[in-house]
């Protein structure tokens, strides 16, 4: 077996790439998979804090590339899951410290001993993005149901197609079901229709995500978190399982009361 390399990217910044990587990695590890995450956001390291591993960093990606340490030495083991690792980004300002071929080489070195390698791409369509997609077997594009985020996602999808990376799958993050119901937010159908790519998951706007990131504990492990559930479902789909999409009706309304009565929940 050899690992599948998955890159999470978006075009627009701040839509939830790092959150998605941390949660998918945790959810895959919960399913017993061997996972290595790579923070591809050189100069703006963040995946370490979202995963709660910032105090364990000794070496980083650029140290590996420049030969200051072995690959294994830069792999930080997760606190909860012994088969989950993070390779942190360097905080260097030299964006050229990493090249696409470096990423391909590192991923090839990781493939034999992992099930999934998940790369957190920086925002934008520059060097860091190119590095992050270089080794990808599969690309996930994260967007929010907002005009600018969808527009930037479309640009990225166009570039991925032009680079023959195949059609990416969409994670629609921060969907607010109450706003959609009120016709004040693009629905998942709207976004899919506009982008014309396949959907791999819808993650609701959920305050537990922020609480989890405060603690450095991704919500995938929180059985009560709706966003956590959504990420666990996406992780199952990445493993090839057919998981139905969550029912994202507004919480606490008449609808969910009815569903409770009729036992559909």
């Amino acid at each position: 077996m050899t690992a599948q390399v998955i890159t999470v990217t978006s075009g627009k910044g701040g839509v939830g790439k790092t959150t998605a990587v941390a949660n998918l990695a945790n959810a895959l590890a919960m399913d017993g998979k061997r996972v290595v995450c790579i923070d591809g956001d050189i100069g703006l390291r963040n995946l370490d804090v979202v995963m709660g591993l910032e105090n364990r960093i000794v070496y980083d990606l650029v140290d590996v590339i420049e030969g200051r340490c072995k690959l294994k030495q830069a792999m930080i083991r997760d606190k909860r899951y012994p088969e989950l690792y993070l390779i942190p980004a360097a905080q260097t300002r030299d964006k050229n410290a990493v090249s696409p071929s470096d990423m391909v080489r590192i991923c090839n070195d990781l493939r034999p001993d992992a099930d999934f390698v998940i790369i957190d791409s920086p925002a934008g369509i520059e060097r860091g993005f190119r590095n992050s997609i270089a080794a990808a077997d599969r690309v996930l594009v994260v967007t929010n149901p907002e005009v600018s985020a969808v527009r930037d996602a479309d640009r990225v999808v166009g570039i991925l197609e032009a680079e023959e990376k195949g059609s990416p799958a969409l994670i629609l993050n921060r969907l607010n079901p109450a706003l959609v119901k009120n016709n004040d937010m693009l629905s998942a159908e709207d976004v899919l229709d506009l982008l014309g790519i396949q959907l791999i998951g819808i993650v609701p706007e959920d305050e537990t995500v922020i609480i989890g990131s405060n603690r450095g504990a991704p919500v995938a492990a929180d059985g009560k978190s709706r966003a956590g559930q959504a990420f666990r479902n996406i992780a199952k789909r990445l493993q090839g399982q057919d998981v139905p999409f969550m029912d994202l009706e507004p919480q606490g309304g008449l609808w969910s009361a009815l569903q409770k009565i009729t036992g559909r929940k």
């Binding site: 479309d154 004040d184 693009l186």
Partner: protein, 84 residues
């Protein structure tokens, strides 16, 4: 949907605006360039057959991730070939 002011829902304006923006992003044609293209097409067609410019529809349509230029040109009942 505000019935009295007939204001469209913000989601449908978002979708419509995105639809147009994506077409132009994907084809790299500005709205002005698109208008110029339509004008040229109409002029060319009118050199060969009689048409009523009012009834003609030319626009970009989306088919999945592909864009196509679609022209709908009704011909007049007695559309004669223009001579000369």
């Amino acid at each position: 949907m505000d019935f009295f002011t007939r204001k469209r829902s913000s989601a449908s304006s978002a979708k419509e605006r995105l639809r147009l923006v994506l077409i132009h992003d994907r084809t790299d044609l500005t709205p002005e360039e698109m208008e110029a293209l339509k004008d040229d097409l109409l002029k060319t067609i009118a050199r060969h057959i009689e048409i009523d410019p009012e009834t003609i529809q030319i626009g970009l349509e989306k088919d999945g991730r592909e864009q196509r230029l679609v022209a709908d040109i009704p011909l007049r009942g007695n559309a004669r070939r223009r001579t000369g």
